[in-house]
Amino acid sequence: MRTLPILLIVLGATSCGYEEDLPEIDFSGRVIVPKEAATKIVEIDGVETELTDIRFLGPVFLGAYPSVTNTGFPYPHPEMGPVIDPAYPGNTYPYGGTSIGRFDFACFEAVACKVTTGRFESFDKIIEYFSWSDEPVVDPFGNLVESPDYYQQYCLDYYYNTELTEFGFLAIAEDEDGDLVPDLDFEQITAGHELAAEYEGDFVAEFTMRHTVWTEGMSIWGFLDNPSQDFTFSTCNDDVLGNARNDYNLYFSAGGHHHDILNYPSLYINEGDWVVRDAHVMTSKDDEPLLVLDCPASGC
C-alpha cells in the first residue's frame, strides 16, 4: 500500500518534465512612447494649457507579423495578404499579439469606451481628465459628477464590489503593507533611468506577448491609439454586442474592442496616433524587444 503513493508521486513528478513542443512562446519587452504623444492642449478654467500626462495615452496594440514594410501607408505597416474586399485592406495574419491597456467600463455611460486601464489611479483622476473634455462625467440623472466619493460609491454599488482593487479601470495595487499604491502601465523616464540617455522625458511600459506562434524572423510592431479631440478611441466599438448594460432604467452598450485591430490595423490608425517606426525582428525566443512608437500616423 505504501508503494502506491510513492509510485504516484514519482509519476506525477516525471510529468512535470514533459515537453509539449508547442510552437508558441511567451516573451516580454518594453515600449517607448514619446513625450509628445502624451501631450495635449486642454482648456483649464478657460485657459488653454499644454499638459503632459499618461492619461492622454490610449491602449497600445502590439502584434507579431511576418514582416513590416514602408509601402502603402504613410507609416510602417505589417505585410498584408491579398485584398479581397476593396473596402478593406488585406489581412495581416498576425502570429500573436497583446496590448498595453484595454478599455474598461468606468460605471457611467458618459465614459463608456473612453477609459483605458492602467492610466487612472483614482476616481479623482478620472473626473479631472474628463473635465478637460467637452463631455465631463455625468451620472444617469444627468448630474455632473464632481465628487470622487460619490463616483466611488456609485461604482461599488454598480459592480457589487467591496474593494477598490476589484475595479479593472483603476490602476492600483496593494503593496507589501497592504496599502493601495498606483500601478500605472507607463512610467516617465527621468534622469537616472537606464534609458534616460536616449529617452529622457518619454514614457516606458513593459509588455508580455503570450502564446505567440514562434517564427524566426517575425517582426514585432504596434501602434498607440490616442484619444481623439472628443476623447474617444477608434479601436473601441461603442456598439459591441455582449457588453450591453441593462439595469433598471439604464440600457446602453458599455463598449469593447473591435475584434480585428491586429488584422487590419490601418482601419484604426488615425491622426494623433503613434506607430512603431522600426519593428523588432525576433532572431531568438529570448529576445526582449524595445519598441519605440516614434512615428506619427501622419507619416514618418
Partner: protein, 279 residues
Amino acid sequence: MRSSIIILSLTLVSACDRTGAYLVPQQTEGVDPVLELGELLVLTDAEWDDASSRHQYITYANIGAPEPGAQSGATYTFLGTGDKVCIVVDPESVFWNTSVATNNPSETYSYSDNYLDDGDLDLKAGFSATYTGSPGIELGDFYGQYTDSLGNTVEIAYNLCENVDYYGDTPAYAGKANAEYCEIDTEGREGIEYTVLLKTFSLPIDDSILSFATAVYDGGCRNIDECTLRYESRDVWVEGEEVMSSVREGFDELEQAYCDNDMYNYCMANPDMCGSPPD
C-alpha cells in the same frame, strides 16, 4: 425482478423493428447530385419588383442524392453589374416549429410541419477565380492558401456572401427550407464573373430530391421572406434523359398560408400537406 428483465428485453427487441434506412437519401437515376446552371442574368428592378410575374425570371432546379461520402449541390455564375446585387435561394418547402406550450399555445403553429418534404441549402458566393470546385462535376468552396513572407501558410476564406445571424455574427445560415440571401457589392467589378455555390445541407426525406428556386437581382437585398420566391416545392420525375418537374399540388397555398400566418386554417382544410394535428 424477473418481470423487469423480461419487459426490458421486449422493449429492446421491439426497438429492432426500425432500421432508420428511410433517413438515408436514395439516389434517383437521372437527377444529378452536382448541378451547374450556367450563367444567370442579373434581374433588373422591373423584372424583380413585380411579385406576380417574378417567377418567370427566376431559376428552378432539382438536386439529387449524391453517392455516399460525396457532397451534392449546385453552382451558377453571374456577372458583376457595378452595383450591389442580391443573391437569393429558397429550398423546398416550408418549415416551422410546432407550438407545444400548454398555456396559450400559438394556434398558428399548432399543427406540426411535414418535416419529410424539407431540404436545406447553404449559400456562398465569390469570384469565380477563387472557386475551387469543378462545376457540374465536383463541388468546391471559396478557400485558398496564402503563404506569408516567412513561409507560413494560412487559409483564406474568399466567400463574399456573408450571412449575419441574430447577433450580427458570421457565418450564419437560414436553416431548413428557409430563404437564404446575401448582398455582394460589385462596385468596380462590372463584367467580372462571380460563382454562386449552393451546398446541400440536407435533402428532403420523402424523395431525396431537393427542389429550389434561386435568383440574382440588381440592388440591395430587401424584404426577403418565404414568399419572395414562389413555387419552389416541386414533384420531379425523369422521362428518358430529361428531368421533368411541376409545382407540387397545393404547395402555393401552403406557402401563402405560412406567409399570412394562417397555417392552422390551411392545415385543417389540407391535412395531407401538414404534419400531425394538435393534441
